[in-house]
């Protein structure tokens, strides 16, 4: 691997010397996500991470897997599956070419986040190729590690703004003994109330989804855990059982955004505080017990952002139709001035010439 890393490092140094931006990529499955780099006159260099491929270390009893950034996500999920384990944060691949590096850098979690927590909670260690072409190692392969700042978690979801991920160690989880999907015919308001009501109870809820199917709408909830726990939860919450393989297929299609809801050209993602009522902004699909709202509509950015902010959250223009101009402040929610100051300084410290993925996560930085 030394040779491949040296080559990548050389590319970075060359770009830096010639004031050319470096756009990091793996399998291009998430290239639509984030602010696009449009100044082709700068002759950006594309840094292809797929030369770094392979699982470096996987010991099921340690609950840790370490792999090179360019390793296909599919290879990782297959390997885990063979040992009865999984990536609990349930990351979307958005295509067969998806790599682990892109998965971690984009920070996206899937439906399973409701029960398991976000992707960043599973990142234990990283190797980073920085703007000086050096390899820096943060964190490690152990569950508990408070030596130095937790830079690995900072890199998760940073969209490559601080450098290129070379290798990542992730915490993995045993697959649940059993899963069961239940559904209810109900309105958006009723489903929000029901999901919110479950928050403070010890129920093995691993995923939720409400969408406008049929007359009023439909809530689906996935339970995961020991058969005894699922049985007692089911007695408590009721609902109709959704059989296999339909249920598994549904959660997969939801994660990969293959449901017909997601066919619309414009897609906003609004993250909100618990207990937020219906936003009434347009066609809606709700996940994570009400915390994640997808709105399939071409909305005025200021209006969506206002609504999100009032719900103590933020709004992202997740995907937009061809030929559409991105909002002036970027597709992500603008940061507060105080946070911007720190982010600017961090970027300055990690990447003073601003070569890595300029503006992709934070417009102008």
């Amino acid at each position: 691997m030394k040779y491949e890393i040296a080559q990548l490092s050389e590319q970075v140094l060359e770009a830096r010397a010639n004031y050319r931006p470096v756009l990091i990529h793996g399998g291009h499955t998430k290239s639509f996500y984030g602010n696009q780099y449009l100044r082709s006159s700068d002759e950006p260099i594309s840094l292809d991470m797929r030369s770094l491929r392979g699982i470096v270390n996987y010991e099921p009893t340690e609950l840790v897997l370490t792999a090179l950034a360019g390793t296909p996500l599919q290879e990782i999920t297959d390997t885990l599956e063979a040992s009865g384990q999984m990536l609990a944060f349930d990351p979307p691949a958005f295509g067969a070419q998806a790599t682990l590096g892109g998965c971690i850098a984009s920070g996206l979690s899937g439906p399973g986040r409701l029960g398991a927590g976000p992707l960043k909670d599973y990142v234990l260690g990283t190797h980073l190729l920085d703007a000086q072409g050096r390899v820096l190692k943060f964190g490690g392969e152990v569950m508990k590690n408070v030596a130095g700042y937790d830079v690995s978690r900072l890199l998760a979801g940073s969209m490559g703004m601080f450098g290129a991920l070379l290798q990542i160690s992730v915490k993995v989880a045993p697959k649940p003994l059993q899963t069961l999907t239940l559904e209810w015919e109900c309105t958006e308001a009723a489903s929000l109330a029901m999901c919110h009501g479950m928050r403070a109870h010890p129920l093995p809820v691993s995923a939720s989804a409400w969408e406008l199917v049929g007359h009023r709408g439909r809530l689906r909830i996935r339970l995961a855990g020991a058969p005894a726990a699922i049985e007692s939860a089911r007695r408590k919450i009721g609902g109709e059982v959704v059989n296999e393989p339909e249920s598994s297929q549904y959660w997969q299609d939801l994660r990969e955004q293959r449901l017909s809801f997601f066919m619309a050209p414009h897609l906003w993602r609004v993250a909100v505080a618990p207990g937020t009522p219906a936003l009434n902004l347009g066609p809606t699909l709700i996940e994570w017990g009400g915390g994640q709202r997808w709105i399939a509509a071409d909305l005025e950015p200021g209006m969506v952002r206002n609504a999100a902010q009032q719900a103590h959250g933020h709004a992202t223009l997740f995907r937009m139709g061809a030929g559409k101009q991105a909002p002036e402040q970027g597709v992500f929610h603008p940061l507060t001035p105080a946070v911007t100051t720190i982010v600017k300084r961090l970027k300055q410290e990690f990447d003073p010439k601003g070569v890595f993925n300029p503006g992709r996560l934070v417009a102008g930085i």
Binding site: G148, A156, P174, R199, A200, H201, A229
Partner: protein, 498 residues
Amino acid sequence: MNAITETGLAQLNTPSADLVVQALLARLPAHCVLSRTEDTRPYECDGLSLYRSVPMAVVLPETEAQVQAVLKTCKRLNVPVVARGAGTGLSGGAMPHAQGVLLGLAKFNRIKSIDAEAAIAVVEPGVRNLAVSEAVSQYGLYYAPDPSSQIACTIGGNVAENSGGVHCLKYGLTVHNVLKVRMITMDGELIELGSLAPDSPGPDLLSVFVGSEGMLGVVTEVTLRLTPKPALAQVIMASFDDVEKASNAVAMIIAAGIIPAGLEMMDKQATLMVEPFVKAGYDTNAEAILLCESDGTLEEVADEIRRMEQVFERAGATRLQVSKSEAERLLFWAGRKNAFPAAGRVSPDYYCMDGTIPRRRLGDVLKAIQQMETTFSMRCANVFHAGDGNLHPLILFDSNIPDEVRRAEDFGAAILELCVEVGGTITGEHGVGMEKINQMCVQFSRDELDQFLAVKRAFDPDCLLNPEKVIPTLARCAEYGKMHVHGGALEFPEIPRF
């Protein structure tokens, strides 16, 4: 002050104590500023009393605006500030700076709001960890991270150290249970990190802030995620006649797809020390005992306990005992949680270490520590968060015997370096502070340490907040290298290092 200058962070002309105290009194009520030595001395150390230093002044602000005023004043005067909660930290992280101000947050002790339906509590940093669980218990909720010091330690300190506890294998560390933090930077700027929503825009600054040991900002408010209390919890106590067998049992539990609510190990030295003190009913004939907890619904726990028992039987347990009541469960845990006070009873002094290793090296590392006991002629009792590989060797010594302090420190350093060698880390939950700053030179390269400094500068450009801790300077690492590597030969070559 040399230490800081080497890194290019000039720290010049520290003003006199009088001037600093006058400046603080101009902004704070008189009863919030302590400057006489008899008043400031109680703050000279935290839970690691080996390291002491009396600060120039102690301030005990009562409002967020006062915290802001203290930081702005100190920034203007170029005076270092060290924040402190309950002072239970075990790595000297809250040890004052001799030319600096100690900022105590003890008066920030209010639980501001509880939203039981959303399972969220907003608290001030001086609220004790256990007080949160007590306050929300009536709603069937609790705050999951439970460091052993939870009756005394505060949430602000937990955020600074990213504290764990015996239940973090299943429920996570502080970082997994904090949704939002309100903090003030050394510039006096008020910043909110994190969100009530599932995530926030931009890079995740909250993750880097939690566990930053008071070096990036001073916390004034924390929003905590609460966890629904399980209907039942039961714990199995399993005895083993061999430490290696107990270690293998831990791996076998995980391999069986079980994530216990807690999975702890104690060696014979530790049970012998604890049992007379707590009378928890520990099997003192066993070479090692495991405490393995299951929680959930009644049916779920019954099922999981059965599966756990089967695994332990296969692993060669010599005795299994399942808690029959909540009182008995708490008694089993009381022994574990009181390991430190028990050490204080059997030995004039003890020194607690905190390395983490890959679980599969548990047996090897334990054996190596046993050999070190001979090398350093000192006893060491071992308690572990076995489920996540976090070791707490307790080195027993007597500071009245000449040389014992130095030998205890060397013993500790040897254990930590061993942890790094087997692929682990020098600290799982106690933090680096002052104590493990030398071992940072072993775990990280100079480039990586510089990158940590870069993160610090992004939050605190003049490096005035808890300076000279956690990140060693180039000179310190060079000095430490000289101490430990004599002509390329490792000290204590007789210790197997595999």
